[in-house]
Subunit: 314 residues, 2 copies
Amino acid sequence: MNRITNLFHIQYPLIQGGMIWCSGWELASAVSNAGGLGLIGSGSMKPDVLKEHIRKCKAATDKPFGVNVPLLYHGNEEMFGMMIDEGVNIIFTSAGNPAKFTSFLKSHGVKVVHVVASVKSALKCEEAGVDAIVAEGFEAGGHNGREETTTMVLVPMIREQVKLPLIAAGGIGSGRGMLAAMALGADGVQIGSRFAATTESSAHTNFKNKLIEIKDGDTMLALKKLMPVRLIKNKFYFDVEDLENKGAQAEELMTLLGKGRSKLGMFDGDLDEGELEIGQIAGLFKEIKPVATVVSDIIKEFNQAKSELAKISF
Amino acid sequence: MNRITNLFHIQYPLIQGGMIWCSGWELASAVSNAGGLGLIGSGSMKPDVLKEHIRKCKAATDKPFGVNVPLLYHGNEEMFGMMIDEGVNIIFTSAGNPAKFTSFLKSHGVKVVHVVASVKSALKCEEAGVDAIVAEGFEAGGHNGREETTTMVLVPMIREQVKLPLIAAGGIGSGRGMLAAMALGADGVQIGSRFAATTESSAHTNFKNKLIEIKDGDTMLALKKLMPVRLIKNKFYFDVEDLENKGAQAEELMTLLGKGRSKLGMFDGDLDEGELEIGQIAGLFKEIKPVATVVSDIIKEFNQAKSELAKISF
Protein backbone atom coordinates (compact mmCIF):
# COMPACT_ATOMS: atom_id res chain seq x y z
CA MET A 1 0.00 0.00 0.00
CA ASN A 2 1.28 3.45 -0.82
CA ARG A 3 -0.03 6.87 -1.82
CA ILE A 4 -0.79 5.80 -5.39
CA THR A 5 -2.47 2.49 -4.61
CA ASN A 6 -4.52 4.30 -1.93
CA LEU A 7 -5.48 7.16 -4.23
CA PHE A 8 -6.88 4.90 -6.94
CA HIS A 9 -7.81 1.81 -4.86
CA ILE A 10 -5.59 -0.46 -6.92
CA GLN A 11 -3.25 -3.34 -6.06
CA TYR A 12 -0.03 -2.15 -7.75
CA PRO A 13 1.18 1.46 -8.25
CA LEU A 14 1.31 0.78 -11.97
CA ILE A 15 -0.67 2.90 -14.39
CA GLN A 16 -1.08 2.09 -18.06
CA GLY A 17 -0.45 5.22 -20.09
CA GLY A 18 -3.38 6.40 -22.20
CA MET A 19 -2.09 6.19 -25.77
CA ILE A 20 -3.79 7.19 -29.00
CA TRP A 21 -4.77 4.26 -31.25
CA CYS A 22 -3.54 1.68 -28.69
CA SER A 23 -5.48 1.96 -25.48
CA GLY A 24 -9.19 1.39 -25.89
CA TRP A 25 -11.51 -0.36 -23.43
CA GLU A 26 -9.94 -3.76 -24.06
CA LEU A 27 -6.44 -2.71 -22.97
CA ALA A 28 -7.63 -0.48 -20.11
CA SER A 29 -9.94 -3.10 -18.60
CA ALA A 30 -7.26 -5.80 -18.91
CA VAL A 31 -4.75 -3.65 -17.00
CA SER A 32 -7.29 -2.84 -14.30
CA ASN A 33 -8.25 -6.50 -14.01
CA ALA A 34 -4.55 -7.35 -13.59
CA GLY A 35 -4.23 -5.04 -10.57
CA GLY A 36 -2.95 -1.84 -12.21
CA LEU A 37 -4.87 1.22 -13.36
CA GLY A 38 -6.01 1.10 -16.98
CA LEU A 39 -6.57 4.33 -18.87
CA ILE A 40 -8.63 4.76 -22.00
CA GLY A 41 -6.63 7.01 -24.32
CA SER A 42 -9.23 9.46 -25.59
CA GLY A 43 -6.84 11.43 -27.81
CA SER A 44 -7.81 9.49 -30.91
CA MET A 45 -11.54 9.26 -30.09
CA LYS A 46 -14.56 11.31 -31.04
CA PRO A 47 -17.00 11.83 -28.11
CA ASP A 48 -19.38 9.06 -29.22
CA VAL A 49 -16.53 6.58 -29.62
CA LEU A 50 -15.16 7.50 -26.21
CA LYS A 51 -18.60 7.01 -24.62
CA GLU A 52 -18.77 3.54 -26.13
CA HIS A 53 -15.30 2.67 -24.81
CA ILE A 54 -16.20 3.89 -21.34
CA ARG A 55 -19.34 1.74 -21.32
CA LYS A 56 -17.51 -1.35 -22.60
CA CYS A 57 -14.73 -0.83 -20.05
CA LYS A 58 -17.26 -0.66 -17.20
CA ALA A 59 -18.78 -3.90 -18.45
CA ALA A 60 -15.37 -5.60 -18.69
CA THR A 61 -14.05 -4.76 -15.23
CA ASP A 62 -15.38 -3.95 -11.78
CA LYS A 63 -12.00 -2.44 -10.89
CA PRO A 64 -11.19 1.30 -11.10
CA PHE A 65 -10.14 2.67 -14.49
CA GLY A 66 -9.64 6.15 -15.91
CA VAL A 67 -9.51 8.22 -19.07
CA ASN A 68 -6.52 10.14 -20.42
CA VAL A 69 -7.42 13.43 -22.05
CA PRO A 70 -4.75 15.27 -24.06
CA LEU A 71 -5.97 18.86 -23.78
CA LEU A 72 -4.26 19.41 -27.11
CA TYR A 73 -7.00 17.49 -28.93
CA HIS A 74 -9.99 17.77 -26.62
CA GLY A 75 -10.77 19.75 -23.62
CA ASN A 76 -14.25 21.11 -23.74
CA GLU A 77 -16.62 21.03 -20.79
CA GLU A 78 -19.17 19.08 -22.77
CA MET A 79 -16.81 16.15 -23.24
CA PHE A 80 -15.77 16.20 -19.58
CA GLY A 81 -19.47 16.43 -18.66
CA MET A 82 -20.18 13.27 -20.66
CA MET A 83 -17.37 11.43 -18.83
CA ILE A 84 -18.76 12.51 -15.47
CA ASP A 85 -22.26 11.42 -16.52
CA GLU A 86 -20.81 8.03 -17.48
CA GLY A 87 -19.32 7.66 -14.01
CA VAL A 88 -15.65 8.19 -14.88
CA ASN A 89 -13.98 9.31 -11.65
CA ILE A 90 -10.29 9.23 -12.60
CA ILE A 91 -9.04 11.56 -15.35
CA PHE A 92 -5.45 12.08 -16.47
CA THR A 93 -4.96 15.29 -18.43
CA SER A 94 -1.90 16.05 -20.51
CA ALA A 95 -0.48 18.45 -23.10
CA GLY A 96 -2.11 21.60 -21.76
CA ASN A 97 -2.82 23.79 -18.77
CA PRO A 98 -3.87 21.88 -15.62
CA ALA A 99 -5.57 24.99 -14.22
CA LYS A 100 -8.25 24.85 -16.92
CA PHE A 101 -10.35 21.89 -15.79
CA THR A 102 -9.00 20.65 -12.46
CA SER A 103 -11.40 22.47 -10.14
CA PHE A 104 -14.39 21.72 -12.36
CA LEU A 105 -13.53 18.01 -12.40
CA LYS A 106 -12.73 17.87 -8.69
CA SER A 107 -16.04 19.54 -7.84
CA HIS A 108 -17.66 16.54 -9.54
CA GLY A 109 -15.71 14.06 -7.44
CA VAL A 110 -13.16 13.21 -10.14
CA LYS A 111 -9.56 12.44 -9.18
CA VAL A 112 -7.36 14.52 -11.45
CA VAL A 113 -3.80 13.71 -12.46
CA HIS A 114 -1.80 15.87 -14.85
CA VAL A 115 1.21 14.87 -16.95
CA VAL A 116 4.23 17.20 -16.91
CA ALA A 117 7.73 17.32 -18.38
CA SER A 118 9.23 20.11 -16.25
CA VAL A 119 9.50 21.32 -12.67
CA LYS A 120 7.69 24.53 -13.61
CA SER A 121 4.65 22.61 -14.86
CA ALA A 122 4.72 20.41 -11.76
CA LEU A 123 4.53 23.50 -9.56
CA LYS A 124 1.55 24.74 -11.66
CA CYS A 125 -0.17 21.41 -11.06
CA GLU A 126 0.23 21.80 -7.34
CA GLU A 127 -1.33 25.26 -7.55
CA ALA A 128 -4.17 23.89 -9.67
CA GLY A 129 -4.93 21.34 -6.96
CA VAL A 130 -4.44 18.07 -8.85
CA ASP A 131 -4.37 14.81 -6.88
CA ALA A 132 -1.15 13.48 -8.39
CA ILE A 133 1.43 14.27 -11.04
CA VAL A 134 2.93 12.17 -13.80
CA ALA A 135 6.55 13.24 -14.48
CA GLU A 136 7.31 12.12 -18.01
CA GLY A 137 10.87 12.08 -19.32
CA PHE A 138 12.41 12.65 -22.75
CA GLU A 139 12.59 8.91 -23.50
CA ALA A 140 8.79 8.61 -23.53
CA GLY A 141 6.90 7.96 -26.74
CA GLY A 142 4.50 10.35 -28.43
CA HIS A 143 4.26 14.01 -27.53
CA ASN A 144 7.02 15.22 -25.34
CA GLY A 145 8.34 18.26 -23.49
CA ARG A 146 10.61 20.89 -24.99
CA GLU A 147 13.11 20.74 -22.12
CA GLU A 148 14.26 17.20 -23.08
CA THR A 149 14.76 16.32 -19.40
CA THR A 150 15.05 12.57 -18.88
CA THR A 151 13.17 10.49 -16.32
CA MET A 152 16.37 9.94 -14.31
CA VAL A 153 16.70 13.70 -13.86
CA LEU A 154 13.09 14.91 -13.88
CA VAL A 155 11.77 12.62 -11.13
CA PRO A 156 14.21 13.64 -8.36
CA MET A 157 13.89 17.31 -9.37
CA ILE A 158 10.11 17.28 -9.06
CA ARG A 159 10.22 15.06 -5.97
CA GLU A 160 12.32 17.69 -4.25
CA GLN A 161 9.93 20.57 -4.91
CA VAL A 162 6.47 19.04 -4.97
CA LYS A 163 4.89 17.01 -2.19
CA LEU A 164 2.05 15.47 -4.24
CA PRO A 165 1.96 11.75 -5.11
CA LEU A 166 4.36 11.35 -8.01
CA ILE A 167 4.13 8.90 -10.90
CA ALA A 168 7.24 8.44 -13.08
CA ALA A 169 6.87 7.86 -16.82
CA GLY A 170 9.23 7.50 -19.77
CA GLY A 171 11.69 4.67 -20.26
CA ILE A 172 9.91 2.27 -17.90
CA GLY A 173 8.88 -1.10 -19.28
CA SER A 174 10.11 -3.67 -16.78
CA GLY A 175 10.26 -4.41 -13.08
CA ARG A 176 13.80 -3.03 -12.88
CA GLY A 177 12.62 0.20 -14.50
CA MET A 178 9.79 0.42 -11.99
CA LEU A 179 12.22 -0.16 -9.11
CA ALA A 180 14.60 2.50 -10.45
CA ALA A 181 11.74 5.01 -10.69
CA MET A 182 10.77 4.35 -7.09
CA ALA A 183 14.42 4.59 -6.02
CA LEU A 184 14.36 8.09 -7.54
CA GLY A 185 11.45 9.01 -5.30
CA ALA A 186 8.38 8.18 -7.40
CA ASP A 187 5.32 6.65 -5.70
CA GLY A 188 4.37 4.74 -8.81
CA VAL A 189 4.93 4.41 -12.53
CA GLN A 190 3.06 4.99 -15.76
CA ILE A 191 3.96 2.53 -18.48
CA GLY A 192 2.88 3.12 -22.06
CA SER A 193 5.02 1.45 -24.74
CA ARG A 194 5.07 -1.98 -23.07
CA PHE A 195 1.25 -2.05 -23.15
CA ALA A 196 1.14 -0.93 -26.80
CA ALA A 197 2.79 -4.27 -27.60
CA THR A 198 0.17 -6.47 -25.91
CA THR A 199 -2.55 -8.73 -27.26
CA GLU A 200 -5.20 -6.33 -25.92
CA SER A 201 -3.70 -3.20 -27.51
CA SER A 202 -5.87 -1.88 -30.32
CA ALA A 203 -2.85 -0.94 -32.44
CA HIS A 204 -2.44 -2.57 -35.88
CA THR A 205 -0.53 -5.86 -35.93
CA ASN A 206 2.09 -4.34 -38.24
CA PHE A 207 2.81 -1.68 -35.63
CA LYS A 208 2.91 -4.19 -32.76
CA ASN A 209 5.32 -6.40 -34.72
CA LYS A 210 7.51 -3.38 -35.42
CA LEU A 211 7.68 -2.64 -31.67
CA ILE A 212 9.30 -5.97 -30.90
CA GLU A 213 11.83 -5.56 -33.73
CA ILE A 214 13.31 -2.15 -33.00
CA LYS A 215 16.57 -1.62 -31.09
CA ASP A 216 18.17 1.24 -29.19
CA GLY A 217 18.54 4.30 -31.38
CA ASP A 218 15.54 3.40 -33.56
CA THR A 219 13.29 6.17 -32.19
CA MET A 220 13.96 9.90 -32.24
CA LEU A 221 12.31 13.09 -31.04
CA ALA A 222 11.00 14.74 -34.18
CA LEU A 223 9.04 17.78 -35.34
CA LYS A 224 10.49 20.04 -32.66
CA LYS A 225 9.42 23.13 -34.58
CA LEU A 226 5.80 22.00 -34.24
CA MET A 227 5.24 19.89 -31.13
CA PRO A 228 8.04 17.44 -30.26
CA VAL A 229 6.97 13.81 -30.72
CA ARG A 230 9.01 10.62 -30.35
CA LEU A 231 8.69 8.46 -33.47
CA ILE A 232 10.18 5.31 -34.89
CA LYS A 233 12.66 6.25 -37.64
CA ASN A 234 10.70 5.19 -40.72
CA LYS A 235 10.34 6.75 -44.17
CA PHE A 236 8.09 9.51 -42.83
CA TYR A 237 10.59 10.30 -40.05
CA PHE A 238 13.45 10.61 -42.55
CA ASP A 239 11.31 12.82 -44.81
CA VAL A 240 10.83 15.13 -41.81
CA GLU A 241 14.53 15.01 -40.96
CA ASP A 242 15.52 15.93 -44.53
CA LEU A 243 13.26 18.97 -44.46
CA GLU A 244 14.50 20.01 -41.01
CA ASN A 245 18.15 19.69 -42.05
CA LYS A 246 17.44 22.10 -44.85
CA GLY A 247 16.08 24.61 -42.34
CA ALA A 248 12.35 24.11 -43.04
CA GLN A 249 10.06 26.16 -40.81
CA ALA A 250 6.82 25.15 -39.07
CA GLU A 251 4.49 25.77 -42.02
CA GLU A 252 6.39 23.53 -44.40
CA LEU A 253 6.56 20.79 -41.77
CA MET A 254 2.81 21.05 -41.15
CA THR A 255 2.18 20.61 -44.86
CA LEU A 256 4.28 17.42 -44.90
CA LEU A 257 2.64 16.14 -41.70
CA GLY A 258 -0.87 16.69 -43.00
CA LYS A 259 -3.69 15.02 -41.09
CA GLY A 260 -4.20 11.51 -39.80
CA ARG A 261 -0.55 10.35 -39.91
CA SER A 262 -0.68 8.64 -36.50
CA LYS A 263 -3.87 6.74 -37.39
CA LEU A 264 -2.26 5.74 -40.69
CA GLY A 265 0.76 4.28 -38.93
CA MET A 266 -0.50 2.92 -35.64
CA PHE A 267 -4.09 1.91 -36.47
CA ASP A 268 -3.99 1.26 -40.22
CA GLY A 269 -0.50 -0.27 -40.11
CA ASP A 270 1.27 1.79 -42.79
CA LEU A 271 4.81 1.55 -41.43
CA ASP A 272 6.34 3.79 -44.12
CA GLU A 273 4.04 6.79 -44.33
CA GLY A 274 2.49 6.74 -40.86
CA GLU A 275 3.61 8.40 -37.63
CA LEU A 276 4.78 5.58 -35.34
CA GLU A 277 4.74 6.95 -31.79
CA ILE A 278 6.60 4.88 -29.20
CA GLY A 279 9.10 5.26 -26.36
CA GLN A 280 12.80 4.35 -26.42
CA ILE A 281 12.19 1.42 -24.07
CA ALA A 282 10.40 -0.51 -26.85
CA GLY A 283 13.91 -1.54 -27.96
CA LEU A 284 13.85 -3.91 -24.99
CA PHE A 285 10.68 -5.80 -25.98
CA LYS A 286 10.92 -9.22 -27.57
CA GLU A 287 7.33 -10.41 -27.83
CA ILE A 288 3.74 -9.35 -27.86
CA LYS A 289 2.28 -10.65 -24.62
CA PRO A 290 -1.13 -10.63 -22.94
CA VAL A 291 -1.58 -7.83 -20.40
CA ALA A 292 -1.86 -10.22 -17.45
CA THR A 293 1.58 -11.64 -18.28
CA VAL A 294 3.12 -8.19 -18.71
CA VAL A 295 1.86 -7.06 -15.31
CA SER A 296 2.85 -10.22 -13.46
CA ASP A 297 6.32 -10.22 -15.12
CA ILE A 298 6.87 -6.61 -14.06
CA ILE A 299 5.84 -7.23 -10.46
CA LYS A 300 7.93 -10.41 -10.26
CA GLU A 301 11.04 -8.67 -11.63
CA PHE A 302 10.41 -5.68 -9.34
CA ASN A 303 10.37 -7.88 -6.24
CA GLN A 304 13.35 -9.94 -7.33
CA ALA A 305 15.49 -6.88 -8.17
CA LYS A 306 14.44 -5.30 -4.87
CA SER A 307 15.76 -8.32 -2.96
CA GLU A 308 19.05 -8.23 -4.90
CA LEU A 309 19.43 -4.51 -4.25
CA ALA A 310 18.82 -5.01 -0.53
CA LYS A 311 21.88 -7.27 -0.37
CA ILE A 312 24.26 -4.56 -1.61
CA SER A 313 26.19 -3.17 1.30
CA PHE A 314 29.16 -0.86 1.61
CA MET B 1 32.06 -5.54 -2.25
CA ASN B 2 30.96 -6.06 -5.82
CA ARG B 3 32.48 -6.49 -9.27
CA ILE B 4 33.41 -2.82 -9.57
CA THR B 5 34.90 -2.36 -6.11
CA ASN B 6 36.85 -5.60 -6.65
CA LEU B 7 38.08 -4.59 -10.10
CA PHE B 8 39.54 -1.29 -8.93
CA HIS B 9 40.19 -2.09 -5.24
CA ILE B 10 38.03 0.77 -4.05
CA GLN B 11 35.51 1.18 -1.23
CA TYR B 12 32.46 2.41 -3.16
CA PRO B 13 31.44 1.56 -6.76
CA LEU B 14 31.52 5.27 -7.54
CA ILE B 15 33.74 6.62 -10.29
CA GLN B 16 34.35 10.30 -10.89
CA GLY B 17 34.00 11.01 -14.60
CA GLY B 18 37.11 12.39 -16.28
CA MET B 19 36.05 15.83 -17.51
CA ILE B 20 37.99 18.35 -19.56
CA TRP B 21 38.97 21.49 -17.61
CA CYS B 22 37.48 20.16 -14.35
CA SER B 23 39.22 17.00 -13.27
CA GLY B 24 42.92 17.44 -12.67
CA TRP B 25 45.00 15.74 -9.97
CA GLU B 26 43.33 17.67 -7.17
CA LEU B 27 39.81 16.41 -7.97
CA ALA B 28 40.91 12.87 -8.88
CA SER B 29 43.00 12.37 -5.72
CA ALA B 30 40.23 13.79 -3.52
CA VAL B 31 37.70 11.33 -4.94
CA SER B 32 40.09 8.41 -4.52
CA ASN B 33 40.86 9.51 -0.97
CA ALA B 34 37.11 9.60 -0.26
CA GLY B 35 36.70 5.95 -1.27
CA GLY B 36 35.67 6.29 -4.93
CA LEU B 37 37.78 6.12 -8.07
CA GLY B 38 39.17 9.45 -9.24
CA LEU B 39 39.98 9.97 -12.92
CA ILE B 40 42.26 12.61 -14.36
CA GLY B 41 40.51 13.98 -17.44
CA SER B 42 43.29 14.11 -20.02
CA GLY B 43 41.15 15.50 -22.84
CA SER B 44 42.22 19.06 -22.15
CA MET B 45 45.88 18.26 -21.37
CA LYS B 46 49.05 18.22 -23.42
CA PRO B 47 51.31 15.21 -22.63
CA ASP B 48 53.63 17.19 -20.33
CA VAL B 49 50.70 18.62 -18.39
CA LEU B 50 49.15 15.16 -18.06
CA LYS B 51 52.46 13.75 -16.76
CA GLU B 52 52.56 16.45 -14.11
CA HIS B 53 48.97 15.71 -13.06
CA ILE B 54 49.72 11.99 -12.81
CA ARG B 55 52.75 12.66 -10.60
CA LYS B 56 50.89 15.08 -8.36
CA CYS B 57 47.97 12.66 -8.07
CA LYS B 58 50.31 9.85 -6.98
CA ALA B 59 51.76 12.17 -4.35
CA ALA B 60 48.31 13.18 -3.10
CA THR B 61 46.81 9.72 -2.65
CA ASP B 62 47.94 6.17 -2.04
CA LYS B 63 44.59 4.91 -3.31
CA PRO B 64 43.94 3.74 -6.90
CA PHE B 65 43.15 6.38 -9.50
CA GLY B 66 42.94 6.41 -13.27
CA VAL B 67 43.08 8.55 -16.39
CA ASN B 68 40.27 9.21 -18.87
CA VAL B 69 41.43 9.41 -22.47
CA PRO B 70 38.98 10.67 -25.10
CA LEU B 71 40.31 9.00 -28.24
CA LEU B 72 38.85 11.97 -30.10
CA TYR B 73 41.63 14.24 -28.82
CA HIS B 74 44.48 11.89 -28.01
CA GLY B 75 45.14 8.30 -28.69
CA ASN B 76 48.69 7.76 -29.79
CA GLU B 77 50.85 4.97 -28.42
CA GLU B 78 53.44 7.42 -27.18
CA MET B 79 50.98 9.06 -24.81
CA PHE B 80 49.72 5.70 -23.54
CA GLY B 81 53.35 4.60 -23.18
CA MET B 82 54.05 7.62 -20.96
CA MET B 83 51.05 6.76 -18.75
CA ILE B 84 52.25 3.18 -18.40
CA ASP B 85 55.77 4.42 -17.55
CA GLU B 86 54.25 6.66 -14.89
CA GLY B 87 52.52 3.64 -13.36
CA VAL B 88 48.94 4.41 -14.39
CA ASN B 89 47.12 1.08 -14.32
CA ILE B 90 43.50 2.15 -14.85
CA ILE B 91 42.53 3.86 -18.11
CA PHE B 92 39.04 4.84 -19.25
CA THR B 93 38.82 5.46 -22.99
CA SER B 94 35.93 7.24 -24.67
CA ALA B 95 34.80 8.79 -27.95
CA GLY B 96 36.47 6.28 -30.24
CA ASN B 97 37.07 2.65 -31.12
CA PRO B 98 37.84 0.42 -28.10
CA ALA B 99 39.58 -2.12 -30.34
CA LYS B 100 42.40 0.31 -31.05
CA PHE B 101 44.31 0.28 -27.76
CA THR B 102 42.71 -2.27 -25.45
CA SER B 103 45.02 -5.22 -26.10
CA PHE B 104 48.13 -2.99 -26.04
CA LEU B 105 47.09 -1.52 -22.68
CA LYS B 106 46.05 -4.85 -21.20
CA SER B 107 49.37 -6.41 -22.19
CA HIS B 108 50.96 -3.77 -19.97
CA GLY B 109 48.76 -4.67 -17.01
CA VAL B 110 46.37 -1.77 -17.40
CA LYS B 111 42.69 -2.21 -16.56
CA VAL B 112 40.73 -0.80 -19.49
CA VAL B 113 37.21 0.61 -19.36
CA HIS B 114 35.45 2.07 -22.39
CA VAL B 115 32.54 4.52 -22.44
CA VAL B 116 29.64 3.73 -24.79
CA ALA B 117 26.25 5.19 -25.66
CA SER B 118 24.74 2.24 -27.54
CA VAL B 119 24.30 -1.52 -27.33
CA LYS B 120 26.29 -1.95 -30.54
CA SER B 121 29.32 -0.21 -29.04
CA ALA B 122 28.97 -2.22 -25.84
CA LEU B 123 29.16 -5.44 -27.86
CA LYS B 124 32.29 -4.11 -29.61
CA CYS B 125 33.83 -3.46 -26.19
CA GLU B 126 33.22 -7.04 -25.17
CA GLU B 127 34.92 -8.21 -28.37
CA ALA B 128 37.84 -5.87 -27.71
CA GLY B 129 38.31 -7.43 -24.27
CA VAL B 130 37.80 -4.43 -22.00
CA ASP B 131 37.47 -5.00 -18.24
CA ALA B 132 34.30 -2.97 -17.79
CA ILE B 133 31.92 -0.71 -19.68
CA VAL B 134 30.51 2.71 -18.87
CA ALA B 135 27.00 3.08 -20.35
CA GLU B 136 26.42 6.81 -20.69
CA GLY B 137 22.95 8.19 -21.38
CA PHE B 138 21.66 11.20 -23.30
CA GLU B 139 21.37 13.31 -20.13
CA ALA B 140 25.15 13.31 -19.61
CA GLY B 141 27.23 16.44 -20.09
CA GLY B 142 29.82 17.00 -22.78
CA HIS B 143 30.16 14.77 -25.82
CA ASN B 144 27.32 12.41 -26.29
CA GLY B 145 26.01 9.59 -28.49
CA ARG B 146 23.96 10.06 -31.64
CA GLU B 147 21.29 7.57 -30.57
CA GLU B 148 20.04 9.85 -27.74
CA THR B 149 19.27 6.81 -25.58
CA THR B 150 18.77 7.77 -21.93
CA THR B 151 20.41 6.11 -18.93
CA MET B 152 17.06 4.59 -17.86
CA VAL B 153 16.86 2.76 -21.19
CA LEU B 154 20.52 2.18 -22.08
CA VAL B 155 21.56 0.45 -18.85
CA PRO B 156 18.99 -2.40 -18.91
CA MET B 157 19.52 -2.87 -22.66
CA ILE B 158 23.27 -3.30 -22.28
CA ARG B 159 22.87 -5.31 -19.07
CA GLU B 160 20.78 -7.80 -20.98
CA GLN B 161 23.33 -8.41 -23.75
CA VAL B 162 26.72 -7.91 -22.12
CA LYS B 163 28.03 -9.78 -19.10
CA LEU B 164 30.93 -7.43 -18.27
CA PRO B 165 30.92 -5.21 -15.15
CA LEU B 166 28.68 -2.27 -16.03
CA ILE B 167 28.99 1.33 -14.83
CA ALA B 168 26.01 3.64 -15.43
CA ALA B 169 26.59 7.30 -16.28
CA GLY B 170 24.43 10.25 -17.21
CA GLY B 171 21.88 11.89 -14.92
CA ILE B 172 23.40 10.55 -11.71
CA GLY B 173 24.36 13.06 -9.05
CA SER B 174 22.87 11.78 -5.81
CA GLY B 175 22.47 8.64 -3.74
CA ARG B 176 18.98 8.10 -5.17
CA GLY B 177 20.39 8.30 -8.69
CA MET B 178 23.06 5.78 -7.76
CA LEU B 179 20.44 3.46 -6.30
CA ALA B 180 18.27 3.77 -9.41
CA ALA B 181 21.24 2.91 -11.65
CA MET B 182 21.95 -0.19 -9.62
CA ALA B 183 18.25 -1.13 -9.67
CA LEU B 184 18.54 -1.05 -13.47
CA GLY B 185 21.35 -3.59 -13.28
CA ALA B 186 24.51 -1.48 -13.12
CA ASP B 187 27.37 -2.59 -10.87
CA GLY B 188 28.46 0.97 -10.22
CA VAL B 189 28.11 4.56 -11.35
CA GLN B 190 30.21 7.24 -12.98
CA ILE B 191 29.39 10.73 -11.78
CA GLY B 192 30.72 13.77 -13.60
CA SER B 193 28.70 16.96 -13.20
CA ARG B 194 28.37 16.73 -9.40
CA PHE B 195 32.19 16.67 -9.13
CA ALA B 196 32.58 19.60 -11.52
CA ALA B 197 30.85 21.69 -8.84
CA THR B 198 33.25 20.85 -6.00
CA THR B 199 35.95 22.83 -4.26
CA GLU B 200 38.61 20.57 -5.80
CA SER B 201 37.34 20.91 -9.39
CA SER B 202 39.75 22.94 -11.52
CA ALA B 203 36.92 24.68 -13.37
CA HIS B 204 36.66 28.48 -13.20
CA THR B 205 34.62 29.85 -10.28
CA ASN B 206 32.22 31.52 -12.74
CA PHE B 207 31.45 28.12 -14.26
CA LYS B 208 31.06 26.44 -10.87
CA ASN B 209 28.69 29.18 -9.73
CA LYS B 210 26.68 28.79 -12.92
CA LEU B 211 26.29 25.05 -12.21
CA ILE B 212 24.50 25.66 -8.94
CA GLU B 213 22.17 28.23 -10.55
CA ILE B 214 20.80 26.34 -13.52
CA LYS B 215 17.45 24.52 -13.50
CA ASP B 216 15.84 21.73 -15.53
CA GLY B 217 15.77 22.61 -19.21
CA ASP B 218 18.86 24.84 -19.00
CA THR B 219 21.12 22.43 -20.90
CA MET B 220 20.61 21.08 -24.41
CA LEU B 221 22.32 18.70 -26.81
CA ALA B 222 23.92 20.93 -29.43
CA LEU B 223 26.06 20.78 -32.57
CA LYS B 224 24.54 17.49 -33.73
CA LYS B 225 25.87 18.05 -37.25
CA LEU B 226 29.41 18.01 -35.82
CA MET B 227 29.68 15.89 -32.67
CA PRO B 228 26.73 16.15 -30.26
CA VAL B 229 27.65 17.91 -27.01
CA ARG B 230 25.46 18.87 -24.06
CA LEU B 231 25.88 22.55 -23.21
CA ILE B 232 24.35 25.11 -20.92
CA LYS B 233 22.10 27.41 -22.98
CA ASN B 234 24.21 30.57 -23.04
CA LYS B 235 24.86 33.15 -25.75
CA PHE B 236 27.14 30.77 -27.65
CA TYR B 237 24.50 28.01 -27.50
CA PHE B 238 21.83 30.34 -28.90
CA ASP B 239 24.19 31.48 -31.68
CA VAL B 240 24.58 27.83 -32.65
CA GLU B 241 20.83 27.24 -32.45
CA ASP B 242 20.11 30.24 -34.71
CA LEU B 243 22.49 28.92 -37.35
CA GLU B 244 21.06 25.40 -37.09
CA ASN B 245 17.49 26.66 -37.41
CA LYS B 246 18.48 28.29 -40.65
CA GLY B 247 19.78 24.96 -41.94
CA ALA B 248 23.53 25.61 -41.50
CA GLN B 249 25.75 22.67 -42.41
CA ALA B 250 28.84 21.33 -40.62
CA GLU B 251 31.36 23.71 -42.16
CA GLU B 252 29.52 26.85 -41.10
CA LEU B 253 29.07 25.47 -37.59
CA MET B 254 32.79 24.64 -37.35
CA THR B 255 33.64 28.21 -38.28
CA LEU B 256 31.40 29.54 -35.51
CA LEU B 257 32.79 27.01 -33.01
CA GLY B 258 36.39 27.85 -33.78
CA LYS B 259 38.99 26.59 -31.34
CA GLY B 260 39.27 26.70 -27.56
CA ARG B 261 35.59 27.37 -26.77
CA SER B 262 35.45 24.88 -23.90
CA LYS B 263 38.60 26.29 -22.28
CA LEU B 264 37.17 29.78 -22.70
CA GLY B 265 33.97 28.82 -20.88
CA MET B 266 34.96 26.27 -18.29
CA PHE B 267 38.54 27.26 -17.45
CA ASP B 268 38.66 30.98 -18.27
CA GLY B 269 35.12 31.60 -17.04
CA ASP B 270 33.59 33.37 -20.05
CA LEU B 271 29.96 32.36 -19.55
CA ASP B 272 28.72 34.07 -22.73
CA GLU B 273 31.16 33.03 -25.45
CA GLY B 274 32.48 29.77 -23.99
CA GLU B 275 31.21 26.20 -24.39
CA LEU B 276 29.78 25.20 -21.01
CA GLU B 277 29.63 21.40 -20.93
CA ILE B 278 27.54 19.87 -18.16
CA GLY B 279 24.89 17.21 -17.60
CA GLN B 280 21.16 17.76 -17.03
CA ILE B 281 21.49 16.67 -13.39
CA ALA B 282 23.36 19.90 -12.53
CA GLY B 283 19.90 21.46 -12.23
CA LEU B 284 19.65 19.62 -8.92
CA PHE B 285 22.79 21.11 -7.32
CA LYS B 286 22.52 23.89 -4.78
CA GLU B 287 26.05 24.43 -3.55
CA ILE B 288 29.68 23.92 -4.31
CA LYS B 289 30.88 21.34 -1.80
CA PRO B 290 34.16 19.62 -0.95
CA VAL B 291 34.57 16.19 -2.58
CA ALA B 292 34.56 14.37 0.77
CA THR B 293 31.12 15.83 1.54
CA VAL B 294 29.76 14.97 -1.91
CA VAL B 295 30.86 11.35 -1.59
CA SER B 296 29.60 10.88 1.96
CA ASP B 297 26.26 12.56 1.10
CA ILE B 298 25.79 10.23 -1.87
CA ILE B 299 26.56 7.09 0.13
CA LYS B 300 24.33 8.21 3.01
CA GLU B 301 21.40 8.94 0.69
CA PHE B 302 22.00 5.68 -1.17
CA ASN B 303 21.75 3.64 2.02
CA GLN B 304 18.75 5.56 3.32
CA ALA B 305 16.82 5.26 0.05
CA LYS B 306 17.73 1.58 -0.12
CA SER B 307 16.15 1.01 3.32
CA GLU B 308 13.01 2.91 2.28
CA LEU B 309 12.73 0.92 -0.93
CA ALA B 310 13.09 -2.36 0.96
CA LYS B 311 9.92 -1.52 2.93
CA ILE B 312 7.75 -1.30 -0.20
CA SER B 313 5.70 -4.43 -0.51
CA PHE B 314 2.82 -5.49 -2.73
